[in-house]
Symmetry: C2
């Protein structure tokens, strides 16, 4: 799960997609590779929860909503800044991946940090990635960075499974007026131009942000909402892309 | 200009704050230190514009809206991903800072990438920073990362000049209903709790995003708007903080 630009809802999509995949019957793990700004503990309702350890080097993932999770945010103090240069980040990610006793299964969703730097290179070297899903808002500055992410994954030969448009237009809950706060539709157009599958669009909805802040992702807490349906559609499209052998 | 989390509008605030400072009569430069996702060229209307060079090593800043600008985005091809590990980023930033013939003046605003990593350490080592301004949305996950930024700057002894709340509640342009898409007011509360000055609040407004995407920042293109007024208030508060000797 990459994005290029931060703050486009990559973690929100990662968390909800994991829950949607689990609801479809796929055993799913979630690895938070954002060492500088881990969002998984808050969004999964795992704030201030420490994983169990065995000996010096074995970590057990935290399980919530049927998902096995690991995040640096569950290992260091929440307010502490991880002021680490690239080589240390590389080491930490390698340890978290290797020392966690992952249960195996069908999917591991890796929530990447923004950018196209150390963490991304590290992961493509450490894991055999089935593919990359790129999240973007419809806004030009976000799409530009998203396309850089696409270029990076193509350069390191990780298949790009598709693009997700997040924060697509806002609809006033009172009067129904649509305001394209971050624009609308550009991600689908960009995907078409670059020959990348378009996996789906998620609207700006208060319940998505509130669900994330409360540790109750909308896909789990309001499975009948329009947003949860959007995440399930994206999950289904993703499975289809993988089965098609991209 | 730091944020911890990406996508909170750090570049938008940097650009509009620079223009507001210039409008107050301060000679201002803008340095885009986000090597992986430079937003300055789009936001300042400098897309596909190359800076003049002299010999092998001297770059001249691009000037727009009275601001002298330098960004990696004006030197590499727009769609190209800068897949560089930390040490190369360090080198590129050092070169951009050193090889640019900055005109001097009152302010240099440095637009940092998200996180608390290589670029931040590099800049605190290379420059004597007058202080850090932290941008956050009112959302919990953003504020958590913002406070990590605060902790980092305090650790490396850069004074934190204040916190800016961006994307504070959305007001429907049709019916006037306020929706706290990314919540509202939490940044001011967090600033108070951490004894950091609160510099001001910027609403979610379509014109701010559109201005950024079109290269016409709202402070320059719609100086009478509520948003431009908010940026000017923040600029004035910032100057006051600096004069107070923080």
């Amino acid at each position: 799960m990459g994005s290029g630009k931060g703050g486009v809802g990559k973690s929100t999509v990662a968390v909800n997609l994991a829950i949607a995949l689990a609801a479809m019957g796929h055993k799913t793990s979630l690895f938070d590779a954002d060492i500088y700004g881990p969002s998984l503990p808050i969004m999964m309702g795992l704030r201030n929860t420490k994983p169990k350890m065995e000996g010096q080097n074995t970590l057990f993932p935290l399980t919530k909503y049927g998902i096995d999770c690991m995040s640096i945010g569950n290992l260091v103090e929440e307010a502490a800044a991880t002021i680490w240069r690239g080589p240390i980040v590389h080491q930490v990610i390698e340890q978290l991946l290797r020392d966690t006793r992952w249960p195996g299964g069908d999917f591991m969703i890796i929530d990447l940090p923004p950018g196209t730097g150390d963490t991304h290179l590290t992961l493509t070297q450490l894991c055999e990635l089935a593919g990359a899903v790129i999240v973007s808002t419809p806004q030009d500055v976000a799409l530009l960075d998203a396309m850089k992410s696409v270029a990076m994954f193509q350069k390191v030969e990780v298949p790009v499974l598709g693009l997700v448009e997040n924060m697509s237009a806002f609809i006033c809950p009172k009067c129904g007026t649509e305001t394209p706060i971050f624009d609308k539709g550009n991600a689908e157009r960009a995907a078409g131009q670059s020959n990348i599958p378009f996996l789906g669009r998620i609207p700006i909805e208060l319940s998505i942000r509130v669900g994330g802040d409360m540790g109750k992702p909308v896909t789990a807490s309001q499975p009948d909402s329009v947003s949860a349906q959007a995440f399930r559609t994206i999950a289904a499209n993703l499975v289809q892309e993988l089965e098609a052998g991209h």
